[in-house]
């Protein structure tokens, strides 16, 4: 007799569970949310990296022949085509009634020749496009790049003809000029700045002593010594500047004319069309390094961002140093000492809501209270001999840091409180039962264990502060600060100085500069740098935290 097979009761009789009941839609929604976020982050980083880093790559130069058309579209009979030496920027497609039209933006360089630095060319009008090996790009301190063919070089010893094969003399001259230029910079940043400071101090002392005759005489001697030193330094500067003056570079530009450029303002000469890949890479690295290590020129549309990097880092570090102790102390009081009643809860709600106040409001507070009231009082108390010119009564590094510290305080307090709440009561009991006081327990047990949580708070604070721009514009960040806020002169960290900031630099270069096309790649490069810097600062704090967390990982 055939035994009836028993049905497995765990296999459903009818259709399997519907995909909805299994939670598939939710899973898919979640997964697509994550994917979308990752894609957006990836796209952001790609856009910044591609546009930012490509700017320093020596792009090819073209000799472009364009059919010259008038504004009405008719052929210009006298000059059928026009030759341009250009670099390609980008192509845009526009749709008209007559169909699609592609036009390309080319950079002609040679801004100071007044022919227009950028030119849009309708693709239909391009007659020919070639990459002659002899074209060079001359990078200059001012007026942007110059494009042309090398013609000749004037030196104090005579004129040398230059050709693509015989340009050794040019590079030698450039090296010599470079050496003189760095000597001049050292003199200006070192000796002359020091003399300036001394002169300022002397002036203040003079005002302070009033009518004291012997002292005044001594000061007079001091003044004479200073002015002699100053004249000497100026003479040295002048001599050096004169020593590089007689160097001139002659280029043949696209119109065929010859153009004499002072070699003293030339930074580098590139042959992008005949460079090997390794040479290009080398040039790219050099230009990137120059971007990172030099000050901006040409109202921020050229040159580097070094002062902005230093300003951002110093400001963020100063902010961390201010916010960490205050936030941690406040959190410890709120969590460990304050009676947990409605007043404490009200304070906690207040703190949490401070995190939501728009940052520009903090900027206004910083300017109105910190700068004018606190700074003004400080000036009256300690810097009265410098008045009416303000010392701390004007926007500066200290006030910017304090404003941002205020802005990020809630983040640190909340994170620290959460860390304190996670510590089991049994550890506190164990310590108290050994005869430790509340303070000893806090100091020896609770605070060390909660350190990683405090670090998390500081990390979040740094992440927020490094990207903040709006309040900084009011309390200390400027478009161009000639001196770094940190240097080798006493007191080393200049809390009263205004400084540059990468976030503001992005805004300034992108929206406030006169030469948008020239500045555009720098916006990407600076934005990329800001992202990298923020990640770097965060990473530093995360590593520090992980190092600490290692000790308490079993908790």
């Amino acid at each position: 007799m055939a035994k009836k097979k028993r049905r497995n009761p765990f296999i459903p009789k009818g259709d399997p569970q519907s995909w909805f009941a299994r939670g598939e839609p939710l899973l898919w929604f979640n997964a697509s949310g994550v994917t979308l976020s990752l894609l957006l982050v990836g796209a952001l980083l790609y856009l910044l990296t591609a546009n930012g880093l490509a700017h320093f790559w020596p792009k090819p130069l073209y000799s472009l022949s364009v059919a010259a058309t008038g504004t009405d579209g008719s052929e210009n009979e006298s000059e059928p085509t026009k030759r341009l030496y250009v670099e390609r920027v980008r192509t845009e497609v526009s749709t008209h009634a007559t169909g699609e039209q592609r036009s390309t933006l080319f950079r002609r360089g040679n801004r100071d020749r007044g022919d227009g630095e950028f030119v849009w060319v309708n693709d239909e009008n391009v007659v020919s496009l070639s990459r002659p090996a002899e074209l060079v790009r001359v990078l200059r301190e001012a007026w942007g790049p110059a494009y042309g063919e090398l013609q000749s070089l004037e030196t104090p010893r005579g004129t040398v003809a230059l050709s693509p094969d015989a340009d050794q003399a040019l590079y030698e001259a450039l090296d010599r000029i470079d050496a003189v230029r760095s000597k001049m910079a050292a003199l200006e940043n070192g000796t002359i700045r020091k003399l300036n400071r001394e002169a300022q101090r002397l002036y203040q002392r003079e005002r302070a002593i009033g009518g004291d005759a012997p002292l005044a005489e001594e000061l007079g001697k001091e003044q004479a010594r200073l002015s002699a030193a100053f004249t000497g330094a100026q003479r040295d500067m002048l001599e050096m500047a004169q020593s590089i003056e007689p160097y001139w570079l002659t280029l043949r530009v696209d119109s065929g004319e010859l153009w004499r450029l002072p070699l003293a303002s030339v930074l580098a000469v590139q042959h992008p069309n005949s460079m090997s890949y390794v040479e290009k890479l080398e040039s790219w690295a050099l230009q990137l390094w120059a971007f990172l290590s030099t000050a901006p020129r040409e109202s921020n549309t050229e040159g580097g961002v070094f002062p902005a990097i230093v300003g951002t880092v110093v400001m963020v570090l100063l902010m961390s140093v201010i916010v960490a102790p205050f936030g941690v102390l406040a959190a410890i009081y709120l969590h460990e000492y304050a009676k947990q009643d409605w007043k404490t809860r009200l304070i906690r709600i207040g703190v949490n809501n401070l995190a939501g106040v728009p940052s520009i409001v903090y900027g206004v507070f910083g300017l109105g209270f910190l700068v004018y009231v606190v700074g003004g009082e400080l000036d009256k108390l300690f810097y009265s001999d410098a008045l009416p010119s303000p010392t701390f009564g004007a926007p500066g590094l200290l006030w910017a840091s304090i404003t941002l510290a205020l802005l990020t305080l809630p983040v640190v307090i909340v994170a620290t409180e959460e860390g304190l709440a996670r510590i089991p009561q049994s550890l506190r009991d164990g310590s108290l039962a050994l005869g430790a006081t509340r303070f000893e327990t806090l100091w020896r047990i609770i605070v060390p264990i909660a350190t990683p949580a405090m670090m998390t708070g500081v990390i979040l604070a740094i992440a927020r502060a490094a990207g903040e721009v709006a309040p900084l514009m009011l309390v200390g960040v400027v478009k161009l600060a000639p001196a770094l806020p940190i240097d080798s002169h006493y007191p080393y960290l200049h809390l009263d100085q205004k400084f540059m900031h990468l976030g503001y630099h992005v805004f300034d270069v992108g929206f406030q500069s006169a030469n948008i096309e020239a500045a555009r790649p720098l916006v990407y490069a600076t934005a990329l740098l800001l992202v990298v810097l923020t990640i770097g600062l965060n990473l530093f704090a995360v590593l520090l935290r992980n190092h600490l967390r290692e000790k308490y990982k079993a908790l």
Partner: protein
């Protein structure tokens, strides 16, 4: 008459552990309120003798842990907690207003239900109480740490890993470490709050042996859920129910011949 608890300055620790002889503890009419309506202890009176193990047994919520925490004033931590009556150790009132609670707790050590070593090295765990007490000299610290770990029967297991994190020890080792940490500060009274309830049978046995060995130098008060354990380790046993001590007698008599009906019901397993 309550004499003020007179204790030596915190930095002076006794040179030899075996000078400790424990203290007699007397509880008179002790009542404890967590707030105005919740009475956790109701008119408790006990005489606890030195060099004996006294066990508190009773069903959950009967107040035995609360009573235990009165001896080192851990209940002070709880807001709104109020007591009436008096606890005296060798005639000194421990709730006298001028008593410094941390001095009291150095003389009345406590081990908790769950092992709670600090997240630091084995050595630093044992040295913690000593450092708090102001002992700084490395040699003395080394000596006391070794003596305490030996007393807690842990020395042989950890002597090569004194600098390792205490959280890496097993549960039983952690609990013995906590006991070592507690006896390192030379208390007179040891309060054990279900010290073996989260441990395996072998670790439990070790803890029980340890209690037996430590008995000669301390007053040991233990709270336990486990009646066999109470019968094994204790000299005196108190049965508590609903905040009151129902019966307090030698362990032998209480477990073999209880006077009260409630005690008998509990130890024969009829409730609790």
């Amino acid at each position: 008459m309550s004499a003020e608890l007179s204790l030596k300055p915190r930095h002076l620790l006794p040179a030899k552990a075996n000078k400790r002889t424990g203290m007699n503890v007397s509880v008179d009419g002790l009542s404890l309120y967590y707030d105005r309506h919740t009475k956790a202890l109701d008119d408790v009176s006990l005489r606890i003798k030195r060099q004996q193990v006294t066990a508190f047994i009773g069903p959950s919520g009967c107040g035995k842990s609360t009573l235990l925490r009165c001896f080192n004033r851990m209940n002070d931590q709880i807001e709104g907690c109020r007591i009436e009556g008096r606890i005296r150790m060798d005639k000194m009132d421990i709730y006298h207003p001028r008593v410094d609670v941390s001095l009291l707790r150095r003389r009345v050590g406590m081990v908790f239900q769950k092992p709670n070593p600090f997240p630091m090295s084995v050595y630093e765990n044992v040295a913690y109480g000593l450092r708090i007490g102001g002992l700084r000299r490395r040699r003395e610290l080394d000596e006391v740490v070794e003596r305490s770990l030996r007393a807690a029967a842990l020395w042989d297991e950890v002597k090569d890993r004194l600098n390792e994190n205490a959280l890496a020890l097993s549960g039983g080792q952690q609990q013995r470490l906590v006991i070592a940490r507690t006896i390192a500060v030379e208390p007179d009274v040891l309060l054990l709050d279900e010290p073996a309830s989260s441990l395996d049978p072998i670790s439990t046995l070790k803890i029980e042996e340890l209690i037996y060995e430590l008995k000669s130098r301390y007053t040991i008060i233990i709270v336990t859920h486990n009646m066999q354990q109470a019968a094994r380790v204790s000299d005196m046993t108190a049965f508590m129910y609903q905040g009151r001590v129902i019966e307090f007698d030698t362990a032998d008599r209480l477990f073999t011949n209880p006077k009260e009906k409630q005690t008998e019901d509990y130890i024969t397993g009829r409730y609790g």
